[in-house]
C-alpha cells in the first residue's frame, strides 16, 4: 500500500494537533492549572511507598493520611467539597518518586501532595514542586537545612528533638557520648547539632561513626562501645539497622541502666519490629508518643485501630501525616472554590493552628515548618513508651539551628 504524500501530511498534522492539545493543555484550556476544585472535588496526591525497603514505615503514613481524608469526607468534606485522594506507589525509589510526583501535579492536577519519608525522596520531588509552584506536605522528622516555599514541613527538625534531650541526657547520665548513625545526610546533620549542644555543655564525644544503610552486623561497634565506655549512645541509625543494633546490644549483655541508647529515630514502629524486650530502657525524644494523654490522641488512636487493625501502632511520623491533612482542610476552608490553588493554600496555611494529637501545633509563616511539643520518653517492654518529660513550652522550628549565620525566611535563605 502506497502512502500518498497528502494523506501523510494530513495525518501528521492531525496527530500533531492532538498531541499538542493533550500535552500542552494550557494553550487551549483557559485558566489551566488554576480552577482545580471542579465538580465539588478537591484532588490531592498521596505519595508513600507501598513496596520496597521503606514500605515498612511508609505504609503506616499512607494509612494515617487516608484515615484523615476519610474522616474529613465523612464529616461533609471541605465547604461541601470532597477530598479525592490519588494514591501512587513510588516503590521506595527516589527517581520513581519524582516521576509519580510529576504525574500527580501535571496530569492529575492535584492542588497538594502528601508524601514521602526519606530525605532522599524529598530531595527528589522538590524540583517538581518548585518548578510547578505546587505544594508538598512532608510529615517526617528531618535534618533541617532546607528552605523551600513549596514544602510544608510538619515533622520535627533537630532543635525540636535535641534542645531539651541532650541536656537532659547529660544531666542524668553523664558527659561522654558515643554517636552512631547510618551513613547519609540525616544522621550527619543531627550529629553536627548534637556536637554543638554538647560543646556548650562541656560534654565529650568519644566516637562518631557511621554504618552503611541496611547494616546489620554491629559486633565491632559494640566492642568499641565497650572499650570507650560512654555514658550515652546517641543513635541516629535508621531502618532495619535499628532492630539489629538493639537486639545485638541486648545479647552482648550491655545494660541500658548504665549506658542507654538515646535515639531520634526509634518510634513505636521500630519497637514493634524489634520486640519490646530489646527496646526496654532506651530513650527517644519526639513530639508524639502513642501513649500521650489527650482527648485528641485518644480519638486518633481509636480511629486508626478501628480502620486499620487493633494491633497497629501510631507513632511520631504517622501523627503529623494525620494532622497535616487537617491543616490542609483549614487552609482550603478559607478559600473560595475558584481560588483553590497551591499558592493560595500556602498563603492560607501560614500561621494556621490546630489541636493535634500531640497538642496545639502551628505552621510558622516564616519558614513553613511547624511549632511542636517535644517529649522525652523511655521504652517499656510492652512495646509502648512512658513519657518522662514534656516540654513546658511550644518549640519553634529552627531548620538552621546548627548554622547561626543562616536563616530561613519567607523570602528564602538569608545569610548574615
Amino acid at each position: 500500500m502506497a502512502i500518498k504524500r497528502r494523506d501523510f501530511l494530513k495525518a501528521t498534522a492531525a496527530t500533531g494537533a492532538v498531541a499538542a492539545a493533550a500535552g500542552f493543555p494550557h494553550i487551549w484550556i483557559k485558566d489551566y492549572g488554576l480552577a482545580r476544585a471542579a465538580n465539588g472535588e478537591i484532588k490531592v496526591g498521596v505519595l508513600f511507598s507501598l513496596t520496597g525497603t521503606t514500605a515498612i514505615i511508609e505504609e503506616s503514613l499512607n494509612k494515617a493520611t487516608i484515615l484523615a481524608i476519610e474522616e474529613i469526607n465523612n464529616a461533609g468534606g471541605i465547604n461541601g467539597m470532597k477530598i479525592v485522594p490519588i494514591v501512587e506507589d513510588p516503590a521506595s525509589d527516589p527517581a520513581t518518586f519524582a516521576d509519580k510526583a510529576r504525574k500527580l501535579v501535571v496530569s492529575d492536577q492535584c492542588v497538594s501532595v502528601f508524601g514521602s519519608y526519606t530525605s532522599a525522596s524529598r530531595k527528589a520531588v522538590l524540583p517538581v514542586f518548585e518548578r510547578r509552584n505546587n505544594l508538598y506536605w512532608y510529615p517526617t522528622l528531618y535534618e533541617g537545612r532546607e528552605c523551600s516555599k513549596n514544602v510544608i514541613y510538619t515533622g520535627a527538625v533537630p532543635n525540636q528533638q535535641q534542645d531539651e534531650f541532650i541536656p537532659w541526657l547529660f544531666k542524668n547520665f553523664g558527659p561522654k557520648f558515643y554517636l552512631i548513625g547510618s551513613n547519609y545526610i540525616y544522621p550527619r546533620e543531627e550529629n553536627n547539632y548534637c556536637k554543638k549542644l554538647l560543646a556548650e555543655l562541656g560534654g565529650e564525644v568519644v566516637e562518631e561513626e557511621y554504618v552503611p544503610l541496611g547494616h546489620s552486623e554491629f559486633s565491632s561497634v559494640i566492642n568499641k562501645i565497650r572499650s570507650t565506655q560512654p555514658n550515652v549512645i546517641f543513635s541516629t541509625v535508621v531502618g532495619d539497622s535499628v532492630v539489629a543494633l538493639h537486639r545485638q546490644y541486648r545479647s552482648a549483655g550491655l545494660d541500658p541502666e548504665k549506658m542507654p541508647m538515646a535515639s531520634l529515630t526509634t518510634s513505636e514502629n521500630e519497637v514493634a519490629a524489634m520486640g519490646g524486650d530489646a527496646a526496654a530502657g532506651h530513650f527517644t525524644s519526639a513530639p508524639y508518643f502513642m501513649v500521650h494523654q489527650s482527648p485528641e490522641n485518644e480519638k486518633f488512636v481509636e480511629a486508626y485501630r478501628k480502620r486499620w487493625g487493633a494491633d497497629k501502632v501510631t507513632h511520631f511520623v504517622s501523627e503529623p501525616s494525620y494532622f497535616q491533612v487537617y491543616l490542609f482542610k483549614q487552609a482550603v476552608e478559607k478559600l473560595a472554590p475558584s481560588d483553590i490553588t497551591p499558592e493560595n493554600i500556602r498563603e492560607a496555611v501560614k500561621g494556621e493552628e490546630m489541636i493535634a494529637p500531640q497538642g496545639r501545633v502551628r505552621i510558622e509563616p516564616e519558614n513553613l515548618h511547624t511549632w511542636l511539643w517535644p517529649k522525652i520518653a523511655v521504652a517499656k517492654s510492652d512495646g509502648q513508651f512512658e513519657v518522662l518529660v514534656e516540654s513546658s513550652e511550644w518549640i519553634a522550628p529552627d531548620p538552621y539551628a546548627a548554622y547561626p549565620n543562616q536563616q530561613c525566611t519567607a523570602s528564602g535563605l538569608v545569610e548574615s
Partner: protein, 289 residues
C-alpha cells in the same frame, strides 16, 4: 592484648555467620555449578519459618530449627525438580531462573506475611553475655559458632564419608561417565540442592534473633555468601571455611580500627585484588583437566 583477643573473637563470630550463610551456596555452586541467586530468599524463608513457628505455634527457636531445615529443604527439592533440572545444559540460564524464583518468593512472603519487620525471640538461656578467655561475648554468638562447627562437620561427613557424597563427587568429576556407572545423577542433584537450601533456611532461622526479619533481608546475604564462595574457590569446602574466616576477621578488625563503611569497601577491594591474581580462588583444589 585484650583488644586484639576481643577483636579476634568478634571476627570469629562474624565469620561464623558468613560461613553459615555461605555453606549451602557453596555446596550447590561447587558441586552442581548452579549459580543460585535465590539463596538469599531461602535464608529469608528460614527466618520467616522460625517466626511463624514461634508466633503461631509457640515453638521456641531451638525446637523450630529441624522443622525449618526440613521445610526449606523440601521447597528446594521442588525448585530443583520443577525448574533447575531443565537447565543443566545451560548453567548461565540458572542465574535468571533462580533470580526470578527469588523475586517470586519475596513477593509471596510480602503478600502473605505483610511488609512489616518481624522478630524472632532469642532462646532465653542464650540472651546474655558470657566470658571467654577474659573477653565478653554474646552467648548467642557462641551458640551460632558451635552450630556452624557441627553443621560443617556433618556436611563434610556427608560429602566424603557417605555413598551419596561419593556419587556426588563422581558426578562432579564427569557426569556422563557417572551415569554410565548407574548413578542416578538427577536424584543426587535433587538431594544436594535440597540440602543446600535447607542449610540456607537454617542460617536464616539462626541469624533471625540478631537481626530483623523482612521480605528483602535475603539480598544482603546472597552478596556476602557469593563473596565467601568465590574467594574460597568453588568445589572446596575447606576453602569456604578459610575465606569466611578471612573475611570475618578482616571485617572485624577494620571495622574496629576505622568503621563498618570502610571495612565493607576495603574487604570488597581485597576480594577484587585477590581474584585478579588467583581467579580460581584462594584455596582451590587441583582439578584434572
Amino acid at each position: 592484648m585484650d583488644i586484639v583477643l576481643q577483636q579476634l573473637i568478634t571476627g570469629l563470630g562474624i565469620a561464623a555467620v558468613l560461613l553459615l550463610v555461605a555453606l549451602g551456596l557453596a555446596i550447590i555452586y561447587g558441586t552442581m555449578g548452579v549459580i543460585n541467586l535465590a539463596h538469599g530468599e531461602f535464608v529469608m524463608l528460614g527466618a520467616y519459618g522460625a517466626w511463624v513457628l514461634n508466633a503461631y505455634f509457640g515453638l521456641g527457636l531451638l525446637a523450630s530449627l529441624p522443622l525449618v531445615f526440613l521445610g526449606v529443604a523440601i521447597l528446594g527439592w521442588l525448585v530443583e525438580k520443577g525448574v533447575i533440572r531443565h537447565l543443566y545444559e545451560r548453567p548461565l540460564d540458572t542465574i535468571l531462573a533462580t533470580w526470578g524464583i527469588g523475586v517470586m518468593l519475596q513477593q509471596i512472603v510480602r503478600l502473605t506475611a505483610g511488609g512489616e519487620l518481624r522478630y524472632v525471640q532469642m532462646p532465653a538461656a542464650l540472651g546474655h553475655s558470657t566470658t571467654i578467655l577474659g573477653v565478653d561475648v554474646s552467648a548467642y554468638r557462641v551458640f551460632i559458632f558451635l552450630t556452624v562447627v557441627v553443621l560443617f562437620a556433618v556436611t563434610w561427613l556427608l560429602m566424603y564419608r557417605t555413598t551419596l557424597g561419593m556419587k556426588l563427587r563422581a558426578i562432579v568429576q564427569d557426569r556422563s561417565i557417572a551415569n554410565c556407572f548407574g548413578i542416578n545423577s538427577g536424584r543426587v542433584f535433587g538431594l544436594t540442592f535440597a540440602y543446600g537450601a535447607g542449610l540456607a533456611g537454617l542460617a536464616g532461622a539462626l541469624v533471625a534473633p540478631l537481626k530483623s526479619v523482612s521480605p528483602e533481608m535475603g539480598t544482603g546475604y546472597v552478596v556476602d555468601a557469593f563473596f565467601v564462595v568465590v574467594l574460597g574457590g568453588v568445589q572446596s569446602l575447606f576453602g569456604t571455611v578459610g575465606s569466611a574466616f578471612l573475611l570475618g576477621e578482616l571485617t572485624g578488625v577494620i571495622a574496629y580500627i576505622r568503621n563498618d563503611t570502610i571495612a565493607k569497601a576495603l574487604v570488597l577491594l581485597a576480594i577484587v585484588v585477590l581474584i585478579r591474581f588467583r581467579p580460581q580462588g584462594l584455596f582451590a583444589v587441583r582439578v584434572r583437566s
